[in-house]
Symmetry: C2
Subunit: 218 residues, 2 copies
Amino acid sequence: MNSFTEENYLKAIYKLSLNGSQGVSTNAIADLLNTKPSSVTDMIKKLADKKLVSYQKYQGVDLTKKGKDIAISIIRNHRLWEVFLVEKLNFKWDEVHELAEELEHINTHKLTERLDEFLDFPKYDPHGDPIPDKDGKVAYHKDIALSDLKNEEKGVIVGVKEHSKSYLNYLEQLQLVLGTEVKVIDIVAFDSTMKILVNGKAVVISHQASKNLIVKSL
Amino acid sequence: MNSFTEENYLKAIYKLSLNGSQGVSTNAIADLLNTKPSSVTDMIKKLADKKLVSYQKYQGVDLTKKGKDIAISIIRNHRLWEVFLVEKLNFKWDEVHELAEELEHINTHKLTERLDEFLDFPKYDPHGDPIPDKDGKVAYHKDIALSDLKNEEKGVIVGVKEHSKSYLNYLEQLQLVLGTEVKVIDIVAFDSTMKILVNGKAVVISHQASKNLIVKSL
DNA sequence: TTTATTTTTTAGACTAATCTAAATTTATTT
DNA sequence: AAATAAATTTAGATTAGTCTAAAAAATAAA
Ligand SMILES: [Mn+2]
Ligand SMILES: [Mn+2]
Ligand SMILES: [Mn+2]
Ligand SMILES: [Mn+2]
């Protein structure tokens, strides 16, 4: 079996591979996991020995089929637990990520499947992220950020790209939760600050905030 | 915070301290945790540094208040998760121990309390073990084993002392589950093998099996 | 196309948890 | 009380994961 640490690396590599299509860079992994590039190199070697990644020095890493399967199953777990915590234990969406980071590693096929069934096979987690199905298929959103909308355009919020407590908490205060309709009513050319209409109220948010909100255009 | 390993040691020491009232011996801990006495000595020193146990060389260990509190909270967690797995996810009582061994270490006050509430504040786990309340109070059974009953005496099964899959599975086959009434109809003097009446059927079980069943005498 | 900068890897060291083998202390027998 | 056995501790190694500092390779700039 794989250690928690190995699993966290696989998950990080998987997530980073969704953006750039090239091999994932050592520094990017180090950044995401708050560790040092030298530690990443060490771990990559180990994962390569286990055939979970393919790797040539200085060229970055890619997950093998096996590595990708593991990464996706951990993400499946993570998101199912997040649904459980919010739906069944009444946690708020900004409280569940850290707990799910631990629960995701209790990785027994049977537990995952039972949990999925108990939750009635949810498709999305509390942050709008798609839950991989039991065969590992993931239904990604088409990635339109709120910041991609033009003036006067409307959208409905379907997800967030950033899971930090401070961000989610901030969104909630602005009533920018999943399912909310928004309309762009002004964009500052200088720094892309947006004024939007939320439940009838005008709200001003930074580009940093708007680019992490995923919307479905209306 | 404490590592999973440290928590497992604390739990082991707690459990062993329930029998003998003296300091818990190094070898007993090593046995229970399937590790070597020398490893135990090392860990004990670390726990002593953290003031979680009191310890003098060659004299065994005792938990401090702090150490005991941690041990009990882990056990509380363990048993709540077992209830969850059986009641909500439809696992059988012989399938949950290993999973709970992992879940118990995800030790957040809030998670435990929410889980307790979700489960409607259960008093006992699927094996009849008492669940410590949120202040750490534990309502232990008076420890009458089935093997303590005399011929012709009756009892109802309220718990098991041994949690192995093979034992629990065996009990289930014999219909010796929690709540079942039994009556002793014969005891072999030589080796204490018992013949008992279970749901109208006569069943023969070894002393090894009968001494691990906790009963309430009727 | 050299020079400078950035990225990545190596070398060597550290901590947590474990082990084997040897030494020491305690307990049990004679 | 001495000898033997059992329990416990120490000494020294090992593995996983991490780090800092230095070397090497790849990129970017001049
Ligand atoms: Mn999350
Ligand atoms: Mn999520
Ligand atoms: Mn258990
Ligand atoms: Mn139990």
